[in-house]
């Protein structure tokens, strides 16, 4: 060992001890015949003091040092005269008698400080330097802790960790697979798994009862912001369970993580809400319930609630399938300019509202941009329904139901942000369940699985699932659920189909020919013929789970070596060209001109 202690370890109780430390030079300051050097390692920073008069040799070595030099230093622990209460080692300093230069450093391309001066690109290229900064170090330490606690909890309740293969079979359905040419099987390819879905189901067929894995998954998608081509899942599956069993089990896991990683106790059960209620009240299938501001329906053709807006000669509301509102607390003072800007904001194509109607509930009465059509009594009725009181602002959107709900949901999040209601250190978990099973795609004229083709229909919808009528099939609910944290979907899962006949029907509904289904999924259809137990599971997006626990929105700092938005590792400069001889061995030719 090059050291007796780490740079985070020494305290006043060590005073008088002869110690050896090793680490990186964070900074050096000269002050009247003395040099003060902050030595850094993973565990902290310790101040070294070099008395220039002690020895010429020591002085000379110290004079050569610069930022990020790696040294070994020997000396005696002394109590500091001016203590630094902000540092755990702030009560002491080391009076140095010898320094051994272990490695020099070029001047780093940016400062190793919490707030660095480096741009994103340069930090990505020198990731090994960026990783020295505290925010990234803390992120990876949090991730480590999350992984250990996850395994510890699942192991303690009888889950077995099984490693599933990375070189598997390509069965694209939904996202694109990354593929790997096989040299030993000319013209054939492996695929990298988008998830170990079929393997974990096979493990249930094999009787493993409770499986988990923290596992790398791969998706060759055009990368949206904050997506990575490779990402990590906490992947889990259980046998002989119903939905409630899975929600309870993983609520337990999540509470253990909150407690052991963040020190937060959740005494109550997490809220549970159906997909349709999530859409109705939050305009989202992943509601952020850190704040209220629930959507109120003013008109909904499918609801029996009283229509508060039609028949008042306001054509926009008269013709709308749906009119909904949110109440923004204390925002009645919004100016005309702010409201105009908000109107433009909801009309952007990402949101797609046609316009915005507002009602101000002010001291001096109730005022609306639709005053022409509505009496103060009409407006009061609306204010009552949305629960507005004096000082609040009501925002109303109208149009096709689902789109308008979603637009209101987006507007709600925006107003939550503007009002500072979405605090990163406030955690509001919930479960959403009963998602639709299928989604009709107009372009390809077929159904797609909302979750994946192994998700079971709800038992009570089984008759509709076998119907010849497309509307009936579209109406089938899935026995599926999501775990949502602060408006982000962190986990998703379902009770699976375990009956080979139902699985066959699913492939039929998805428009696979029998041959196609056999070619792609023959092994699992077959497996279900040999005693598949009822089973279900869930997978958590581990990168995002860690980022949220760290109070961050982006995952990139929670991955040691991430890729950029073009899927490149700019540090490695990968992907890259390979030799012609490698191509030849793989029986491949590139169609790109070199």
């Amino acid at each position: 060992m090059y050291r007796t202690h780490t740079c985070g370890e020494l305290r006043i109780s060590n005073a008088g001890q002869q110690v050896t430390l090793a680490g990186w030079v964070q900074r050096i300051r000269k002050m009247g015949g003395m040099s003060f050097l902050d030595l850094r390692d993973r565990y902290g920073i310790t101040q070294l003091v070099i008395d220039d008069s002690i020895s010429h040799e020591l002085n000379e070595v110290a004079g050569k040092l610069g930022r990020e030099y790696v040294i070994q230093a020997n000396g005696v622990v002394m109590e500091r005269s001016s203590k630094n209460a902000k540092m755990p080692t702030g009560d002491i300093e080391i009076k140095i008698s010898a320094i051994n230069l272990l490695n020099a450093s070029q001047t780093p391309p940016f400062t190793i400080e919490d707030e660095t001066d480096g741009g994103e690109e340069i930090r990505a290229k020198y990731r090994y330097i960026d990783l020295r900064r505290n925010p990234l170090k803390r992120a990876l330490e949090l991730r480590h802790k999350m992984a250990q606690e996850t395994r510890k909890y699942l192991d303690s309740i009888g889950f077995i960790e099984v490693e599933t293969p990375v070189l598997i079979k390509s069965t694209p359905e939904g996202a694109r697979d990354f593929v790997v040419p096989s040299r030993m099987n000319p013209g054939e390819f492996y695929a990298l798994p988008q998830s170990p879905q079929t393997f974990k189901q096979l493990l249930m067929v094999a009787g493993y009862d409770r499986y988990f894995q923290i596992v790398r998954c791969f998706r060759d998608e055009d990368l949206r912001a904050d997506r990575q081509p490779e990402f990590t899942q906490i992947d889990c599956e259980m046998s002989f369970v119903e939905r409630e069993d899975i929600l309870n089990t993983f609520e337990g896991m999540t509470k253990a993580l909150f407690k052991n990683v963040l020190g937060l106790e959740f005494a109550d059960a997490f809220p549970r809400i159906s997909y349709s209620d999530a859409m109705k009240f939050y305009g989202s299938d992943k509601p952020d319930i850190r704040f209220g501001m629930k959507i109120a329906e003013l008109k909904n053709l499918q609801s029996e609630q009283e229509d508060l807006v039609s028949g008042k000669s306001f054509p926009v509301f008269d013709s709308a399938q749906y009119v909904g509102a949110i109440c923004v607390e204390g925002a009645a003072a919004y100016t005309r300019k702010q409201l105009d800007e908000l109107t433009e904001w909801v009309k952007r194509p990402q949101i797609g509202a046609k316009g915005l109607v507002y009602i101000r509930v002010a001291e001096d009465g109730i005022k609306s941009s639709a005053d022409k059509f509505y009496t103060p009594q009409d407006l009061s009725a609306i204010a009552d329904r949305v629960g507005a009181k004096v000082g609040d602002l009501i925002l109303i959107l109208a149009g096709e139901k689902k789109r308008t709900q979603e637009a209101l949901g987006t507007l709600r999040i925006e107003m939550g942000n503007r009002l500072g209601l979405r605090k990163s250190d406030h955690y509001a978990p919930l479960w959403v369940y009963d998602f639709p099973l299928l989604e009709w795609d107009e372009e390809s004229e077929r159904f797609y699985a909302m979750h994946h083709p192994f998700t079971s229909p709800k038992p009570e919808d089984m008759e509709k699932f076998y119907s010849d009528n497309r509307e009936d099939i579209a109406d089938v609910a899935a026995n599926a659920y999501d775990f949502v944290l602060n408006g982000t979907e962190i986990g998703g899962g379902s009770i699976r189909i375990h009956d080979s006949a139902v699985q066959k029907r699913m492939f039929e509904v998805l428009g696979f020919s029998s041959d196609e289904a056999d070619y792609k999924f023959g092994f699992i259809i077959n497996a279900f013929k040999f005693g598949a137990p009822p089973h279900g599971g869930i997978a958590f997006g581990f990168d995002r789970f860690c980022a949220l626990f760290g109070g961050q929105e982006t995952i990139r700092d929670y991955i040691a070596f991430p890729k950029n938005n073009s899927g490149r590792d700019v540090m490695l400069d990968a992907p890259s060209k390979i030799d012609e001889s490698q191509m030849d061995e793989l029986f491949l030719k590139s169609t790109v001109k070199r």
Copy 2:
């Protein structure tokens, strides 16, 4: 939950309780108006008793059941009249009142017994059925335990688990890389890592001090028996350490595994032996020290020990560079036929000895196949050197030193097997150190790194490393070490180069042009310029580690979904052809005729 208890859980203390179990039908026996059904799940087997007279309905369901049907059964726990001491649940049985058929099963293609009737191929195809058998279940449970205990130990001594990327840059050197065409970067490829070697070194440069990961690695090699294209490593790296620190740390880890997984305590330090002594005494760089039978040198031109065999007119020994012997205890009774057969065995090309000389040390005197040349006194001197006593058999080989040592090593293992000295439940770990750094390849006329190009030369050999003389360079020892268990190399590592100038010299010695080194390893050469600490590490072959702990020689049972010797997953039927449209998206054409 479909059950109140598992099939491994109920005991006599549960007698009288109403319970519900779920699982697979292991077997059914009819006996005079009663059916006895063994119900199996991951946790054990419980006997269900169905009284045919209880209800027509129950009787009818029971009559339909066959092997591997999945059922849920309800009943009362009863004390058995004839107890089965071999089963943890053998004191009780369940008197069944209701059975719910959860899923039927076709007759499985082989029996789900410890000794099955299925051949290797059919079991591979139906892996999910084979995994139901106890030996495989125990293997995967052992692997789970090994993984948890490894992480627990390393976490407890401050190691941080960091996930490194799977999509990296192709830098073939040694084995072939698997590559992954990039759709977003036309004509370019990612590679799958052969190990996270460079990443863990970058993490040391980044100051992470103690890193580990249980990680998948990939090698596109022609598969020898019991090799897999994807395999798992316990991968570790430490900063500010010397060799002793690493050996002590991972000796601690290994002892913790022995203790917590197998219940075995190793009080003493593991033996440590240099590479040259391992070759000298065991003819192998991975000696099996579960038994002695050390090699004795009878003649070694590089040794000062007395030559016991030359100058007696036996041309084979006179002309040999090296003559060595092993003493096989109690084997003096080997017949002429057995010895002839052994002679043929050592002459096989895999071993390549020219012949075999034996000496029998029998009650009635000492006899040899080279009696013509050696007096009884000569033979006695040999017997003394190898430590033979009455009843032992001495086997002697001669020839070029290294080859003959290796042949003796192989013969030693064979004799150990024949004498039953290699018991799978006896564990003999050891460390081997001071390997050669480089290996000269006559064909390509260049040096190859024995370990990998990041291994440091021993400090005392640094001058030779910079020599212009090829002999000097060939003579440089590496600061490298292997962990060996029962004659199998389980772990290997080294102190790394942390000086960019030394790393540059290494690439020069390996015959890389400066451009080539920069293109392939520029990022790490660069990283070393920004304050790389002294560091070193080790990686353990996790699959084989688990297999040895399980007392098995082959790894295939310790991998849930392994590939066969052609790299195929016969269950999935992967690799497979992909669509032309997928090829087009990747800018690839196959040169294989479809």
